[in-house]
Structures are given as C-alpha cells and as structure tokens.
Amino acid sequence: MEGYAVKAQALEKDYGGKRALDGFDLAVREGTVHGLLGPNGAGKTTAVRILSTLVRMDGGRARVAGLDVARQPREVRARIGLTGQYAAVDEVLTGRQNLEMFGRLFHLGGRRAGSRAVELLEQFDLADAADKGVGKYSGGMRRRLDLAASMILAPAVLFLDEPTTGLDPRSRGEVWDSVRALVASGTTVLLTTQYLEEADKLASRVTVIDQGRAIADDTPDGLKNRIGGDRIEVVVAERADIPRAVKVVARVSDGEPEREDAELRVHAPVTDRVFALTEVARTLQDEGVRVEDIGLRRPSLDDVFLRLTGHRTDASTGTSTGTPTGTSAESSEENSTENSTENYTGKEAAV
C-alpha cells in the first residue's frame, strides 16, 4: 500500500446489464500525475466516480489516500478533490462567493473559508475577476475556478475528469500550468483524458483503459517504445501517387508502410532517420511525385492506442476522417501535429 495514493483492484461496475468496468486495476504513485486514457465509454469516468465515492462499486476493492473507498467514504471525501467534465461551480455567484460557500461546506468556518478563498483566487490567477459573476467567466476561468474549489482542503488526491474538454488551446495551457503547480506542491493527480497529447505532457505514467479493463500501464515513453521508434510520413498531392509513394517508402523502412488513403498519407517505421528522409524526398522528386508534406514523426500515444486496441481514439478519428468533433478536438490535433512532426527543413538545419 505504501507509496500509492490510489490503488484499485478488480473493480467491477454494471449499468443495466452493460459492463462499464470489468476487473479494472489501477495503481497511482504518490506525488505523480497519472493519466487514464481511453475512448468514450471505455470506463474512465465510471472509474473516477467510484474512486471519488460518487458511485458504489459492484465488485473489487479500492483505497484512496490510504482509506477504503467503500467503507470510509466520508473520510475519503475529506482528502480528495474532484473536477468533473463540466465546471461544477455556481454560475450565479461570484468566484469569491463560490469558494467561500464550498469552503464553509468543507467545514472551514466562515473566517478561514474567506481567507482560503482569497488565497486560491490569487493562486489560480482569478483575483481580478473575484467579484464578477461566474456566468461572465471564460471557459478557462471557469475550469480554473472549478480546480480551485477542488483544492480548498489541499487534498491528497485530486481527480480530474477530462479537465480541458471543450477548452481552446490557450485555456488548456492555463489549466495545465495550474495542474503542474499543484503536483509540485505535493498533490497526487489522477487525470482522465481523451487527448493523448494531454497525457503525454502531464502524466508520468499512463494507464490505457478499453472496455472496462486496463490494457496497458507504462510511462508515456515506455508505451511509445513498445511500438518502435520514429516513423517517416509522406503526404502526396494526388491520390494516384499513393502506390508509388508506398513503394518508395518501403525501400527505406523497417516494416510494411501503412497508407491512409483518405488523407493521402503514407507512413512507416525507420531507423536511419536522416538517410530515409533525404532518400525518400529525392526519389519522389526524381519520379515527379508532387509531395504536400514530408517529415519524421515520433510515435504519438494515438499510435499506441491504435496498436493496443486496434482502433483509434474517438477524439482523433473525428478529425482524421474530416468530421469536425468540435473546435477543441481539432485544435488539440493541430497542436500534437505541430509538436510531434519534425519539419523537413527544420530537421536539415539540426543535422
């Protein structure tokens, strides 16, 4: 038990015959951010709701902050914070009134609730908006206030259930900064997310959940290493050129190239990165194939997910098939491409 802020064994939960959790295991080390990653309906939220005492488990055992979730829910509640999928704050009250109300309901008493509110508003960069109604807050400010409300008692364990869903990239960055600061102050965070990028950036360890079970548990790098190293990626301008691109890429790659016809994309794992890149670029040019984009890509957690489950995450299928699933999903995809695809020219300069 020692060293683990959250430990769940063989959790089970049925919802009207549908198995939401089916022998789910989880171990979260103290003082870390642990990512819980999976598509919609995989059981992420159910797991968080059980661990945060909102929902009773049908089977299994769970301890949070050293306490038994099923037997000591009240004691657990005094040691956890929860930020759900929507900002669960009162929209009519001001930011300060919200924190004071929650502080009093955490049994701090009026005076301490008041000074704690001031402290948290400062910490989460909301002091200027303290006396504005939350209804006038931006999405990012609301999430930060929600986080602040979860932090009133400086909980040992903080559950963040998709804390940045629906936020624009800038607000998402702000929430990430807040989370990092919390962990630096000693809080353990269990973060569920659909955004692979988010887990990659924040979590030191990731559990991948699918159909109610943990199907992998490793560091983000460890997960990526499981599916090999860098990949070369070519996007051609004409659909008719895809077979030729496959042939050219196959000459330098370690494995069979994969093609995504809808996006005119061909990619494959490579070892000698720079050679592969220059070789493919030159050959394609010689053969007169018009190339839209070419680059080296480190595997994303998305690739890991595809490998582990045989299907992509919901967030990414939405964008890769061109169906917009909402601005946030799209912008996250943009970000991750930006960060993981090394541009050809940039690469050359580095070499």
Binding site: R77, F102, H107, G109, S115, L153, A154
Partner: protein, 273 residues
C-alpha cells in the same frame, strides 16, 4: 502550501454540521436572489400581476354560488396557486444543479448529503413566505379584508404546509427530467392541474364529473380551508371533501409527502448507483 490552517474543522458533533451545512445551502439560494434582482421581480411580479388581472378582469364577471364577494373567493385561491406553481421553481433549481455537476460536487465533499435537499426546501419556504406577504399586501390594497388573528396565521401555515409537500415533488421531478429546458415544460402540466380546482371557479358551477375532480384536487382543499380561516367562507360546496376542507387541507400534504419524499430520497440515492 497554504497560509490558512486547513487542519480539519472545528470539533463539533455531526448534528451541528447537518444544520450548518443546511444553512450554508440556504445562504447560497438566498444569495442567488440577491445577485439576480430581476428574478425576484419576476417571481414576485407574476403573483402580483395575477392578483390584479384576475381580480379586476374576471372579478366583475364572476359569480360565487351562495352569494359573496368574488374577491374573497379569488384571493385565497391565488395564494394557493402561487404555492402550487412553486414546485416548478424547486424542480428548475434541482435540474440545473444536477446537470451542471454542482450536486456531484456537493456529494464528493465531506458535508451532510441530506443538507443538499433540506437546504433547498428551507430556501423555497422562505421565498414562499415573501411571495405570500407581497400578494397579501396587494390583495389588501385592492380591498380584500380577511379576519386577523389565529385564523389568519392558520391560513398562512396551511399555505406553507402545501408548499412544503410540493418541495418533494419538485426535487423528485428535478432529478428525473433530463435538462433545464424540459423543466420549463412542467408549467404545461401544472397549469391545467391548477385550473381544475376551486381556485378560480367553484366546482358546483362546473359539469358534474369535472366538478367532482376539481373538488378532490388537493389544492382545492387548501383553498377552501384558507377561505374559512380568513373569515370569508364563500363558495363552499356540499360534498364530503368540501365540507371537511380543513381536515383535508391538513391531510393532503401528508399524503403527498408520504408518497414523494421517499421517491425523491430514492432518486437521490440512485445517483450513487
């Protein structure tokens, strides 16, 4: 990390915290009214407008069986109607809190979970007192003259007693309907239910079958009983339920509470399933 001492609450008994939590939930409800004065205006304006409209527009055309002033018949009815519509307010707040995750936040905190619902109930009763006060003031200005004293207090109590019973229907519905928009639709249900009663028209003036239905409507009993207690027993009927209005006005809310309080509690507990 924090300069504020967070080392656990002052050591007080569990009962103390149930009341303290409840009071803090009430404070939240009242702060809502303070921050949204327009809502108060709406909520109190509607009853005032109803009193004026029905009093002056209908008042001249309406007759009361057995004679008597229509104002004496109408005003207690208006008070009852406002109490009856109150369950929509309860449901609206509850559905907002449950769909926005506020109830989940409360449930994830070490507070007494009964305070979430109890606090709502107390807030609604306080608001009901304000509504009744304002309506009675308006009615008085229009020439309504009830008896004072114990009868008046008894009538006031019966009106709150009805409102109390309807809190549980509101909480239950609030936890059942999927979103705040759907809660708005409750008005469409409430409106006919308040019309088929003795609020505006005496049941004897309706077709027999409808009159019987109206007489047995729980809010008709409260209306008839308060007319008696205000010292203006006009328009009463001869059926058993109408002759025992006072008894029924005390009894109906007991029945409603006995049915809907357990339903609401079960629905609330079901949140953790």
């Amino acid at each position: 990390m924090s300069a504020v001492d967070l080392s656990g609450p002052a050591d007080r008994g569990r009962v103390y915290w149930v009341f303290a939590d409840c009071w803090n939930v009430v404070r939240r409800g009242l702060t809502h009214y303070q921050r949204q004065p327009v809502n108060i205006a709406w909520q109190l304006g509607f009853p005032i407008l109803s009193v004026l409209l029905y009093g002056y527009v209908f008042g001249s055309a309406m007759q009361v069986p057995g004679g008597g002033d229509y104002k004496d018949f109408l005003m207690p009815g208006m008070f009852v109607m406002t109490m009856a519509f109150g369950f929509i307010n309860t449901a609206t707040v509850v559905v907002h809190d449950s769909t926005k995750g506020v109830i989940d936040r409360f449930r994830s905190m070490p507070m007494a979970s009964s305070a979430v619902v109890a606090g709502r109930g107390v807030t609604d009763l306080l608001v009901a007192c304000a509504e009744l006060g304002i309506m009675m003031g308006t009615a008085f200005a229009m020439g309504w003259r009830p008896d004072g004293g114990l009868g008046f207090l008894g009538a006031f109590g019966l009106l709150l007693w009805l409102r109390f019973a309807l809190i549980w229907i509101g909480v239950w519905l609030g936890l059942m309907v999927p979103n705040p928009e759907a809660a708005g639709g409750l008005f469409a249900v409430a409106f006919p239910l308040t019309m088929i009663s003795s609020i505006f028209v005496a049941p004897q003036l309706m077709p027999d079958w409808l009159g019987a239905l109206a007489a047995w409507n729980p809010i008709s009993s409260t209306a008839a009983a308060t007319r008696e207690l205000f010292g203006t027993p006009v328009g009463g009927g001869d059926s058993w339920v109408e002759r025992h209005a006072l008894l029924m006005a005390c009894g109906w809310p007991v029945v409603l509470t006995a049915i809907f309080l357990p339903l609401a509690v079960r629905r609330f507990q079901k949140l953790s399933r």
